[in-house]
Symmetry: D2
Subunit: 354 residues, 4 copies
């Protein structure tokens, strides 16, 4: 162990879920706690939140705060499909890979159809081909009813407005609904620098899971329906799933804290900048290979084993992919990633790569 | 409007869900937020919580923090039954009256059988009669598999240890499981002054929904399985229901804050004492009629319309029952009910009753 | 054992499900088997059946043949409700007592609310009281969505047209749907002597399970939707439940065999007449007590133990109710109950009663 | 139209579901109809059937007759998996392509994982690769629990005993269950000429859907569990799915008719022979291309458009695949395919190919 190490900040790049909550979110909880408030979302914070979301999206919205992204996705998709529906997604989608069957549970048995596409994004051609081959109206086959895209994607890449529009046009032409998993919607909106409305309903998104937990909250997500018809059943679906919080004001307060003065975008912008700095440094190493373009706050990079082993011994936290891809790691930055942490990681990587 | 009114604290007796969180819970959140922590319950707070629950219950336990009581109940019951099961409960049980079909959803279609019983408690004789008539093993009939009791009950009353034991013996003799909805378990344990173990597994309870939200937390409950076999599927059930919190440490911190130095019992003891003071004062009015004995922190009382209307005009918050029982109201006290609020309410009630 | 016994026909009154199929149904199978036919209901027999049902009911209908009454009921109810729905039925209803949770399974978790009512029939007042107390639109409660009545009822009694209309008016006024379990609809229509249309859609029935198995078929029932909106999902629901028969022509042929020349009514009329003869004879015994008026083909009668034991020893087949009602038996007649069987039973009963 | 056409038998190769029932099956129905029999499978025909199946498979079995293959498959798979399970199958499997979500419905939301493999058969290597990458025990992922193979496959090909054993060994080593969709098990057993036991439990199959409808019955399939543990829940699962036939004796009679004197194998052997004759003739045409080896009673062949159009104009029935594969057709033979039909088809094909 050499001297440099002692002064390095041992940053965690394991997940934006390991980061703490922002001071503004914590302060909002303190404020929300000042006195009694009506239960089950009848409170004034929730009322304000609904207006803020309508303003943010420049559209009438139905807002359903919940505690997890898995719940948000499963609820949203269940409102878009029957139990005999087909839901198309990218093979890497969180709903497909890491929600343990929640979409199937909430929908009563709808089936996910996992499609390939470069850079972790659903490919329009692949979707079109699949829909062309689908048995719409054929009683022997599950029925195509929804498509879900993840923004930012699970590969840390972004759908451009035109890409979303093209998918939405195809989806709507077949009478289906378009859902957006926005667990990292903030990172996407911050990176693309366009209005949330342009990235969602104006591009054809019918319903979104709006994430806050990964972006500075403790536990707060929201299903936001732009299509009023989709909102009708969601109040009942949420309650019977045990996701109507009795003291919902605390979840609403977390969400609201981000919406004030565009903080949610500032937090995400910082995370994105830290990822860019990290990616730049990794590229400069000469021995690193990026799997995807770095467009938001996630980096998928392959490094020599000795570098990885060294960084692990140093105490940095990150996830390796399972064998045989254990040299591929995911690095995630967050609102509180520090320049020192990034630079310390890079310095040690350079050290190990020598 | 007279002079007395000006100095009255306009207390809310609408629900223990309207009360804020305790300072200790808020402080625990601040501490939990000091740095990064592993996601999905791999954090050290959760690890400590599990040990504290094992100590509290003097038994090995499987602990599953979730955000709502409805989720806790539905998850616990789903682990006790097949989709063709029967779950027996009191007619007033929260799972039957106010969970919008969550037990059916989580269990995949099990049926609740609502039974009557005095003072909001499941009557042993009624349960026995029902089980005697049930078609155990008959393929044409749903199968008896679980019983759920609520402690404290929805009527604000308490099951004594012997009552729980008698039900448990009957339940286990038929090969069924016993669940306890402990949304207000703290109030029960504080009022009865017995060990949590005596009120649960030692009396035959297989699994409990341990509530904290109504007792000073923001949003934190826990499914606690005493029967290890029941815990096996719960990790998967919780995840696919969207109730595995990515930043679970914050829920664990809320629960832990209560378990330190017996605070959870102190908070509940205060709530119970306030309910007793309120009940005593109401009885002294001469015009009030209690529907049930007041044993925990809930009061069901009938008052003359002029008294109710007066209290409402004063600004006190409480719930009337639906017609034709609109003169029956529910008053709930909490950890932060103040003596002044109780006395102010009673003074105004006396004023209106004149 | 005395001499009379030797010549007695040992009739079975256990169930109309124990009776064989009619010669006409068997002949229809032979005819249907004469050559290849398109699969999955695209055959000409099914096409004819649909026209015959439309003629019979004087209404456009969507017809879905299935193999069992449980499937017909569960499919029909699932089209009338969401997973968080409430379905009101009589406490004795087959869907409540003898379908092992099929309605819950098919609906994705809807709840049956069992109501009392004299003579096995849903009482309008009880239904109205229940609906008045229901939390329509309240997110914490399951939502009232359907009512199901059984015609002829499980008590062997009949709803008159005005009774159905009164229930239907109440049901429709609350935005709900009315289903009729017509496992013994033939017996009802034959006994009441009114047009099938008058007993169903003209009285407000939205969807019916039309039974044939108990009335001379091998295995053939049909879900018949009068409300076209209810039919839309049923094709998919039936297929994914495994109830779309690949060689559906054979089920259609069984159903069609009954619809030719009013045979279905003739078969049921015979069964009803045999039940009437049996009831008359039992009453004449002096020691028998009927639980319900005998209006169709079922009799619920209490007899002295020595009579019951004697009849059982004689070899007659019938079902006793479970303890403590084991002296209450159900006697069911069918299209092939013979006068000799009835009279033999009565003679032996008289013998044992001496 | 030329002269030859007038004497050609216009055979149907659309499906073995379009074929009539065998005389022996029809006769069995007549015999079963001779008098009253206990309902719900308590009859003597069902009792005999269970013994015959035990004899046939040389193993204790739990037998559950049902009306459709979709029901048999969905029931069997539901007994092998939890709602959060993964079920691996070939991409062409009937459960994946043509059951409209029945496996998801019956299992409560388990997910099918469709794998590729040559000749319509699940490839061991593909399965192994998938299982190696699966997250056994990882709470964020659906859990691998069952594999289903189709014998004969949807491509009309056969798994050899060693192939089944290899899959079964892999499956059991991971604690999973192996299901066989035997809708055309008769064709497989007849073609391979080995004992049913060798093709099933001795090779590691835990449960089979045993088909009869495509092999001469009207509507009769059976779930047969070799693993007694799998049979435990099936009685309840079947009933609540509406697949317990009240007059089950008629389904049992159809199944039994095939088991007498090895008829089921004789019928299938004939169908196989007709397919072989047809394949041989097609190959001789010179312009035909087979997609898969013809091993049972299904042929997938590509023919010039003029030949296909000519045969369609002649009135032969067969299915084209959807665009862009509309020149690929499926030809299915059955127990009653006639040599004249085969030869007539071939003669006309030759005529059109000129």
């Amino acid at each position: 162990m050499d001297r440099v190490e002692d002064t390095v900040v041992r940053a965690s790049f394991a997940s934006d879920n390991t980061a703490p909550a922002t001071p503004e979110v914590m302060e909002a909880l303190v404020v929300a706690n000042r006195g009694p408030q009506p239960a089950y979302g009848k409170d004034e914070i929730t009322a304000r939140l609904e207006r803020r979301f309508a303003d943010l999206f420049e559209h009438e919205v139905a807002v359903f705060p919940v505690a997890t992204g898995t719940a948000a996705n499963a609820l949203a998709l269940s409102a878009c499909t029957t139990p005999w529906g087909l839901i198309y997604c990218h093979r890497l989608a969180h709903v497909h890979e890491h929600e343990a069957g929640a979409p199937e549970f909430y929908s009563g048995g709808a089936r996910l159809v996992a499609l390939d596409g470069p850079d972790g994004k659903l490919a329009l051609a692949a979707l079109q081909q699949e829909l062309d081959a689908a048995g719409f109206g054929v009683v022997h086959e599950s029925q195509p009813q929804a498509v879900t895209i993840t923004q930012a994607s699970e590969a840390g890449t972004l759908y451009r407005i035109e890409e979303i529009k093209a998918i939405a046009d195809l989806v709507h032409a077949r009478g289906m609904k378009l859902h957006m998993d926005g667990a990292r919607f903030a990172n996407a909106a911050a990176a693309l620098g366009v209005a949330p409305a342009d990235l969602t309903w104006r591009a054809g998104v019918d319903i979104i899971s709006f994430g806050a937990t990964k972006n500075g909250a403790l536990a707060a997500e929201a299903v936001i329906a732009f299509d009023p018809a989709l909102g009708l059943s969601l109040a009942f679906r949420r309650k019977r799933a045990g996701h109507l919080l009795s003291k919902q004001r605390y979840a609403s307060a977390q969400l609201e804290a981000g919406l004030i003065d565009g903080r949610w975008l500032a937090w995400a912008r910082h995370a994105n900048a830290m990822a860019a700095r990290l990616a730049q440094g990794l590229t400069a190493l000469g021995c690193a290979s990026l799997d995807f373009p770095v467009e938001a706050n996630e980096i998928f990079v392959r490094l020599p084993e000795k570098v990885l082993a060294g960084l692990e011994a140093d105490g940095f936290a990150f996830h390796r992919r399972p064998a045989p891809n254990q040299q591929l790691i995911r690095l995630v930055t967050s609102w509180n990633s520090a320049t020192e942490g990034i630079d310390g990681f890079l310095a040690r990587a350079q050290h190990h790569a020598r």
